[in-house]
Symmetry: C2
Subunit: 233 residues, 2 copies
DNA sequence: GTCTATATAATGATAGAC
DNA sequence: GTCTATCATTATATAGAC
């Protein structure tokens, strides 16, 4: 999006250098000195601008979330997975951002939580739209389904090493995406099992373990009664 | 599996303490001193037994892989996902092991690669068996499907924070597993899409972009010709 | 805003007594 | 095998000149 080579402010250059190194090596393994060197400034200046190393991390987190949520139109309109696909399509340029997001999502930060909630909400909206349009069938549990679709969509970011290795590559390439597309769409279209014997068995097992003592309550007060499953086989 | 309270050797106590802290706080954020304190020994003794902090990590990695691969019967017999389910069922006791494995899988270690390859191979065998038994239909691409099933099965470990949060919990509990079971089995049984319009569209798009230059080769020599998709709608 | 120089604390690892 | 004491390094952060 930026026109020239460096109309970025020094502060922005430091922040971008930090994103690259935090994403590549992790927060703990990255020193303020290394960030300063990559940004071409002195270590003292980094602290001057961000107060502390943790302040620098917070600034990076906020920037990353803005890069997503700033595109709230795309998110809220239910194209969260499309956004991720778009990132992966331009994988070379997006690598630092992708690596940073991947580390965020597996650490415990409020920013990561906010980012994930945005993705999950967008996915839920997408499901609603596609169900209304007749493209998608009604899932058993919309919220849980949206949650797992979101989690599964983030797998190519969070576990990119094992995904690439599993396809004989050393990083996520367009070829990795290409080979993944049809098998995943096939899973999301036809499922894997030949019939619903496992599904029915699991439902019966769950009813046996929680149905007879339905007034137990436990730690989930608004516990939905299990909806019946239509048999398809 | 251990009978009394502490028939463990000192070396084993140090290693177990390291697994707890590495899993909970990460390798970099855990000091040798902290491990020593939790194990009830002096910092010097930790180095004496493992040579260095990195040696301690390697010992923990090996131990974790053995805890899996030592159950190679369960793995190779194609019950990799069943093993993970079993872990999650006994989630309280397994928490340190789970956290450690989760961190392993998102960092780049040879041990993690070996562990993942074992899980992926076991999943591939399971698919073969279930296809032969008529329980599972033939997937478009067995290896890629096995890869993604393995990755998806690890999501509750690797992204446990976001999974738990998405269900209103603060950690993975039996209730979280319980609410996840049917929606996931439903996805794996019926898929999500009402028909295969997306699948067909994607197949045509892929053929358009790579079919016309089928002798391109690129970096995947043994590139399968895209198998035709049977229309189901 | 940016630099150099430095204070202060914590870490991994070593040495040697017991 | 286990401890105490300590070294050498590295890190974050500060102070003050320019």
């Amino acid at each position: 999006m930026r026109s020239s080579d460096d109309d970025r402010t020094t502060r922005a250059r430091i922040r971008d250098a930090a994103i690259v190194l935090f994403g590549r090596d992790g927060f703990d393994a990255t020193s303020v000195r290394a960030v300063a060197t990559l940004a071409g400034v002195s270590p003292g200046l980094v602290i001057h601008h961000f107060g502390s190393k943790d302040g620098l991390r917070a600034a990076c987190d906020d920037y990353i979330v803005d890069e997503f949520v700033g595109r709230k139109s795309e998110l809220a309109s239910g194209r969260a997975s499309a956004l991720i696909e778009q990132w992966l399509a331009d994988v070379e340029r997006m690598t630092p951002l992708i690596d940073y997001v991947a580390r965020m999502l597996t650490s415990s930060s409020p920013s990561a939580d906010a980012l994930f909630d945005g993705l999950r909400t967008g996915t839920a909206s997408m499901i609603d739209e596609q169900v209304s349009a007749g493209i998608m069938r009604e899932p058993l549990d919309r919220d849980v389904t949206a949650l797992y679709i979101t989690l599964y969509g983030l797998v190519p970011l969070v576990m990119q090493r094992q995904l690439a290795r599993g396809l004989g590559a050393d990083r996520i390439t367009t070829e990795v995406i290409r080979r993944s597309t049809l098998p995943i769409l096939d899973l999301y279209t036809h499922g894997l099992y030949a019939d619903d014997r496992y599904l029915v068995a699991a439902q019966e097992a769950l009813e046996r373990s929680s149905g007879p003592r339905s007034d137990k309550g436990e730690n989930d007060p608004n516990q939905d009664p299990d909806p019946p499953i239509r048999r398809a086989s």
